[in-house]
Symmetry: C2
Subunit: 192 residues, 2 copies
DNA sequence: ATAATCTTTCAGTATCTACTGAAAGGACAG
DNA sequence: CTGTCCTTTCAGTAGATACTGAAAGATTAT
């Protein structure tokens, strides 16, 4: 509230500067969100809650990001469903507030887990199904030996191996969310 | 070409079965592609080239996936630009053929590298810029100590640490594409 | 040169996704 | 119960993205 009167080094006031910085972050985070299964607006809302590090209500969000009430409501709910922000009731306040999880690693881990479930798991399942449909007992011995079948089976096998291994990495990461990223990385960096 | 005449175990013929299996894989891979910065059609084309493991020409792609010439042409070019499929000239053939990279780990590594470049790098840069705009020399000592500023600076710092570390992991993975995933994973699995 | 074969481009269109604003739905206060 | 304050829902619309098909551009054969 109190403007810093004697401060020759800057021309813009600190309040304004803080807002500018936050907006910078918000915009970038929103862009990034788009490619993470979270759309721009959801990304921006999350960024706003994260970067301010203070509970905000629906109107705060609407004002800051210039979005409609409906959009704010739906996006906030979606973020709650993801689990990367939380509802918060303030004593004596009628309206609801929202805050972001503070632990970045936890946030990332939640998103990673969801993406694994929605994207990788179905592919792995499909690959297994495909392999069954191409084995000898399904096709017959002679047919199973034809070149096109063999080639496809090989490709399926390589892909399965890759996915299985990637899945394990994900699980390790997700499972170790609490211990932070540092440990994982130390191990990795030492190994190479 | 030669149908397997005496094969009591299956009712559908092997050719048909192979196609069905491939289509299953193609559809799933296409869906997954959407969330990887590659749209459904591009994903499907890549899946088709990968799973058949044989060079295919533009008309093959159009026919198999029921898409227009224009779409096929543009998507194939985009996949070439990504570097996950390659053009291939056949002796005495006028038209061009395409084939997928065969090494899954290499494919993944190319995509990961591109995503890091397009998504993570800009965010890291923005964070650094934000931090500069909030340090004492920009805001003045008194202003820099205000609570909202402190909170934002903390959040920026946590995020930077996280991103820096994630970046390193990516680089390790990308840099070790040739050696395969297995090595990375063995290290990880042992560590926990 | 002309024709034949294949590829690329792009304006127009279809399809999908995100957003708005107004109306309906709680929840609490008096 | 009635009014106030806040949230949610959703039909309609705006905006973004993907796709088509036809025309123009290349390349090789004759």
């Amino acid at each position: 509230m109190i403007a810093n009167a004697i401060e020759p080094k800057t021309t813009t006031n600190p309040q304004q500067q803080l807002k500018t910085v936050q907006d910078l972050f918000i915009r970038r985070w929103g862009e990034m969100g788009q490619t993470w299964g979270i759309n721009r607006t959801m990304g921006e809302i999350h960024a706003f809650l994260y970067i301010t590090a203070q509970p905000q209500c629906t109107d705060d969000v609407m004002e800051r990001l210039n979005i409609s009430r409906g959009n704010a409501s739906m996006s906030l709910r979606a973020l709650c469903d993801w689990g990367i922000i939380r509802r918060l009731h303030k004593r004596g306040e009628r309206r609801e507030f929202f805050e972001s999880l503070s632990d970045v690693w936890e946030i990332f881990s939640i998103i990673a887990a969801e993406r694994k479930r929605r994207e990788m798991d179905p592919v792995l399942e499909t690959i297994k199904q495909c392999q069954k449909m191409l084995d000898e007992s399904s096709l017959g011995k002679a047919a199973a030996k034809q070149e096109p079948v063999q080639l496809t089976r090989q490709r399926l096998a390589s892909m399965e191996e890759f996915m299985a291994v990637t899945n394990k990495i994900f699980q390790q990461f997700i499972g170790n969310a609490r211990s932070g990223l540092t440990r994982v990385v130390k191990v990795l960096l030492k190994a190479f």
